[in-house]
């Protein structure tokens, strides 16, 4: 079979580089968000569980909940920022 007859796009170094950057941003930020999403869901779920068990602990748990939320949510932003740095600044 003659492969040269196939309508393949011309492969250039620039094109491959750009595709790599786009994949880095998409996969990196996407996978990072999955992790942070699971983590944030876990924190709020556990907090609801704890409050349901011991409603008198509600005020004590509040600050711990936000601490955990912010620590976990930051992971999504790390991946997003480093993906964008890879895309625009390299």
């Amino acid at each position: 079979m003659d492969l040269t007859a196939l309508p393949l796009a011309e492969v250039t170094d620039e094109g491959v580089k750009g595709a790599g950057k786009a994949i880095a941003l998409g996969v990196g930020a996407g996978l990072g968000s999955i992790g942070a999403g699971i983590g944030v869901g876990f924190i709020f779920g556990k907090e609801i569980e704890s409050v349901a068990r011991q409603p008198e602990m509600k005020s004590d748990l509040e600050s711990i909940r936000w601490l955990g939320f912010a620590l976990t949510e930051a992971v999504a932003f790390y991946t997003f920022i480093f993906g964008l740095i890879a895309f625009f600044l390299s």
Binding site: S63, W66, A70, E73, A74, F80, I81, L84, F88
Partner: protein, 320 residues
């Protein structure tokens, strides 16, 4: 399903008798149809090579100062630093002068709530007694400064000197959003101050060698020196990682928020040359703006000061 018999919470029957689900779907359908219509009208202008989103965060020197090979130029970040400091000092002094036994203004009530948060929740949660009294001014100032800096970051100010527009014959720099905390240098300096002060406070409380010994977690008394050394190295690494995690968390959150606003509020449409995309992403920009202003700005100030208090408390407490 129950479309004909649905009643509003007030008890009055709905006029159109449509379920919420149907309304949501129709709304989404109209939203998509408008976007597709715009795409058909305006088409695809092709990728825009001139627009460089990273230039929004470039620091152009306004007043060039170079001392002994160090670049001390005054730029956008310096302006935001000064503005955040002035806002912090100004608000606090203004409120303190007008303090009354019975809060007579909403601003005083709001500041009292914030003061209570920094004093009892953030500082009181990790430090106690003399230490809390000693470190509360620092931790409270950290909270208020970061909060004002983050909030200033969501006010559009005429600071983009790359582009101009003309108003009554005056050339005014374009409005742009930026924050002092969206630049890695400033969170890093704050982190370095926290990092050095908790080590100094720990050495002061326990003495030089006992402080470093206290890095080892309890329960290792029977371990061989080699194992203890390995764990000590891990602890040293964890202390250095705090430098990165504390600063990058604040910086990445604020920068990511600004980038999302930039891209959703039109940057993506301009970059790709598809005007219709702007109609789709603009409502998302609103949502992100509310998320950033309502939650992230305050939460990041809270987290930074809470972790500072936890680090100082951890360095001085008797058990690791």
């Amino acid at each position: 399903m129950e479309s004909a018999t649905v009643t509003a919470p007030g008890g009055a029957p709905k006029r159109d008798g449509m379920s919420t689900k149907a309304k949501v779907f129709i709304g989404l359908g109209i939203y998509l149809a408008v976007a597709i219509l715009l795409l058909l009208i305006f088409g695809n202008a092709g990728k825009n090579e001139e627009f460089k989103p990273q230039n929004e965060f470039k620091l152009e020197p306004w007043v060039s100062i170079h001392l002994a090979g160090i670049d001390l130029s005054i730029n956008k970040a310096v302006l935001y630093l000064v503005l955040a400091s002035l806002a912090t000092i100004g608000t606090m002094v203004w409120i303190a002068r007008r303090m009354q036994q019975k809060p007579n203004s909403r601003v005083q009530t709001a500041v009292e709530v914030a003061y209570d948060l920094t004093k009892n929740t953030i500082t009181g949660g990790s430090l106690s007694g003399e230490l809390a009294r000693k470190w509360f001014p620092f931790i409270g100032a950290l909270f208020f400064w970061i909060w004002f800096s983050n909030m200033l970051g969501f006010l559009p100010l005429p600071t983009n000197t790359e582009h101009h527009f003309t108003l009554f014959g005056l050339e005014i720099p374009s409005f742009a959003i930026y924050a002092a905390t969206a630049n890695i240098a400033i969170p890093l300096v704050l982190t370095l101050v926290v990092w050095l002060s908790y080590h100094v406070e720990g050495i002061r409380a326990k003495g030089f060698v006992p402080y470093f010994k206290s890095w080892l977690p309890p329960g290792l008394e029977e371990m061989s020196p080699v194992g203890k050394g390995a764990i000590f190295i891990i602890e040293v690494i964890s202390h250095f990682v705090r430098l990165i995690s504390l600063s990058v968390r604040l910086f990445a959150n604020i920068l990511a928020g600004h980038l999302l606003l930039l891209f959703m509020g039109g940057g993506l449409a301009v970059l790709l040359g598809i005007a219709a995309l702007g109609a789709l992403t603009f409502p998302l920009a609103f949502a992100f703006f509310i998320f950033e202003v309502g939650l992230v700005a305050t939460l990041q100030a809270f987290i930074f000061s809470t972790l500072s208090a936890i680090y100082i408390g951890g360095a001085t407490s008797a058990t690791h």
